[in-house]
């Protein structure tokens, strides 16, 4: 496929890695923000191509991983009510709530349907006017325009049996929270190219300036990520801290204006609790007053915050980049995708799932516990 295969070229990747190795004079720790980037890094062994002094830690950009447990519980509660249909992206189905997951609710007779697009949930609502159809709207800025469009069309068409359970999150406040953490080790970021395709790059300028960290907006293919690392390390070695755009084939400085316009009509910025991380001010999106009638929390009761269950899982530390999956003693032993202890092993974008899938048990065995 064009714009994919040529960005996976092995000799070109090694040339970038060689350039990075010649540039580096000191150890540097970079964080890639997005779970899609984490998967590419682990899948293609990009971390193993890099010189040992450049460490990549994995960020919080896995929407499924950071969705709070109480929202999963609420989705399950809605799914099990008679007369309702709960629609969700497929990767939410196995995320554990405090008592089971959506797949379990489906097995117990709940009408849970997974959809490719929020517009599919609208189609279901039109086809079944006697049922309440709820779309579980999770995700980062990349997904928000699609979910905003579902709400906009429902309102415009007067679709009274449709609502959204909204647990949207925003990337820049999470980056600030990571940088403010007492155990932060991140010195530069590879920002999420798809998030920036929607939002543009301006909101990262104050973060780069205030925390003196380079932020390189980066794509998802191996050559994108290696070029992102090169640009970031070059800034660090030169003592610069600016926002740079590696993913310019898709990201424009101002982002996608029509998408931002509809997002700001449908959503409003609110505080949000992140699973494994805690509450971050102004880090989420909820429905605006004009769309309150389409808020599933109004129809089925408000979601009440609850603490993350204490246990062996280190996913909170993994999501903040303070631990890597292979540093967890439960990895691939007591915690596997079949029997996950936490969300980062469940989600297809989770860092632990990436290591399990591409590095497997062999990697775990090499570790000194």
């Amino acid at each position: 496929m064009k714009y994919r295969d040529e960005y996976r070229d092995g000799p070109a990747a090694r040339r970038f890695a060689e350039a990075i190795a010649r540039l580096v004079t000191r150890p540097w720790t970079l964080m890639e923000v997005c779970g899609g980037q984490t998967h590419a890094i682990v899948r293609y062994g990009i971390d193993e191509l890099l010189p040992p002094s450049v460490t990549l830690v994995h960020g919080p950009g896995c929407p499924v991983c950071v969705t709070p447990v109480e929202f999963v519980d609420k989705a399950i509660e809605i799914a099990l009510r008679p007369g309702t249909i709960l629609c969700s992206f497929g990767d939410m189905l196995r995320v554990p709530g405090s008592r089971g997951d959506l797949l379990g609710a489906k097995a117990r007779g709940g009408d849970v349907r997974f959809v490719y697009s929020p517009l599919d949930a609208l189609t279901i609502a039109r086809a079944e006017p006697e049922r309440e159809v709820v779309f579980f709207a999770v995700g980062f800025e990349t997904t928000a325009p699609a979910n905003a469009m579902a709400a906009y069309r429902a309102k415009r068409d007067g679709l009274a049996n449709f609502s959204l359970l909204v647990s949207h999150v925003l990337v820049p406040p999470a980056m600030r929270a990571i940088l403010d953490g007492p155990d932060n080790r991140v010195q530069g970021f590879l920002a999420a190219g798809h998030v920036c395709t929607v939002m543009g790059t301006r909101e990262y300028d104050p973060i780069a300036a205030r925390y003196r960290v380079p932020i390189v907006v980066t794509g998802f293919e191996p050559l994108d990520i290696l070029e992102g690392v090169l640009l970031c390390v070059r800034q660090l070695e030169q003592g610069r801290a600016a926002v740079e755009n590696q993913y310019s084939r898709s990201v424009r400085r101002g982002g996608n204006a029509p998408a931002q316009e509809l997002m700001s009509e449908v959503f409003t910025v609110i505080p949000r609790r992140w699973r494994g991380i805690g509450t971050i001010a102004e880090s989420g999106l909820g429905l605006s007053a004009a769309y309150a009638a389409f808020d599933a929390e109004r129809r089925f009761g408000a979601v009440r915050a609850q603490d993350d269950a204490a246990g062996e899982c280190l996913s909170g530390l993994v999501l903040r980049g303070e631990r890597k999956p292979l540093e967890c003693p439960a990895f691939a032993t007591r915690c596997t995708p079949e029997h996950p202890l936490g969300v980062t092993m469940v989600s297809s974008e989770g860092a632990c799932a990436a290591y399990y899938r591409y590095r497997g048990v062999a990697a775990a065995k090499e570790l000194v516990r």
């Binding site: 350039a19 599919d120 084939r249």
Partner: protein, 73 residues
């Protein structure tokens, strides 16, 4: 591509052989033959073909700067 209401505008997008109907509300500039970035049924950007070459230009510069032997890509 369908015309009419810009919010309902859709197009057929070929994903390496699998063709899907994709909403083009957020890419009003998209024209037949363009490459688009698609997320959950929506095109969120038209790929800039000239910018797409930059990574390869950067690679060539690196090759010259580092005086690496030219490798076949």
């Amino acid at each position: 591509m369908t015309e009419g209401d810009p919010l309902l505008r859709t197009g057929q997008v070929d994903f390496g052989g699998i063709v899907k109907t994709i909403n083009l509300a957020y890419t009003p500039e998209a024209r037949i033959g363009d490459y688009v970035l698609v997320h959950v049924g929506f095109a969120i950007a038209v790929i800039d073909e000239r910018e797409a070459e930059r990574v390869f230009e950067h690679l060539r510069e690196i090759g010259e700067l580092l005086d690496l032997p030219e490798q076949r890509a």
